[in-house]
Amino acid sequence: MRRELTITAGPIDEAVLLRARVVPHTMGAVVHFLGFVRGDEQGRPITALEYEAFERMARHQFDLLFDQAEKSWPLDSIRLVHRVGRVKAGEASLWVEVIAPHRAEAFAAAQFLIDEMKRVVPIWKKPI
């Protein structure tokens, strides 16, 4: 399975990510998800979120999640980008792509990766 993890202080360039997409003829489903920073946090306006990662551990925990996803579904590819540092409201902080033979597996794996990331990957955010 192809797996790519990027933790970056730069913006998420979706055009570059889409150009690098490879869908083999045996694969019927591509699910991708973009998470954006909203302009409010618990009802109060914010201008940005400041993301912090314990990067060495975050990479390891993402790897463990990718392993679990690979065991659970017949995936061809997982690519995930998470930003750190300041991300302005209206900008994307997360991009996830899963490629699988069928849509049920692709949706389920993408949902799993995002849910579990929010539980175990050591990344935090502070409203600005």
């Binding site: 314990f54 551990m57 998470h82 539980r119 050591p122 935090w124 955010k125």
Partner: protein, 81 residues
Amino acid sequence: MSVRVSFYSIFRDLAGAGETSVSVAAGATVGDVVEAVLERFPKMRPMRKSMLVAVGVDYQRFDHALKEGDEIALFPPVQGG
């Protein structure tokens, strides 16, 4: 033995430092180190219940036995995405 402890997110703010080191007896557990840290940084004590602990890059429970050279990280619940 001496154990290095790092803090992340609000824990670093509460401690006023990114890391510290504590001396504990050989065979001490994660819980022993956490108690020593809370003695030194009492502002962190209200966060004890929700505290997450890693040894190296893996999560561990409070009863996990430590060995010389282990690096511990303490942090609040994670919030990625």
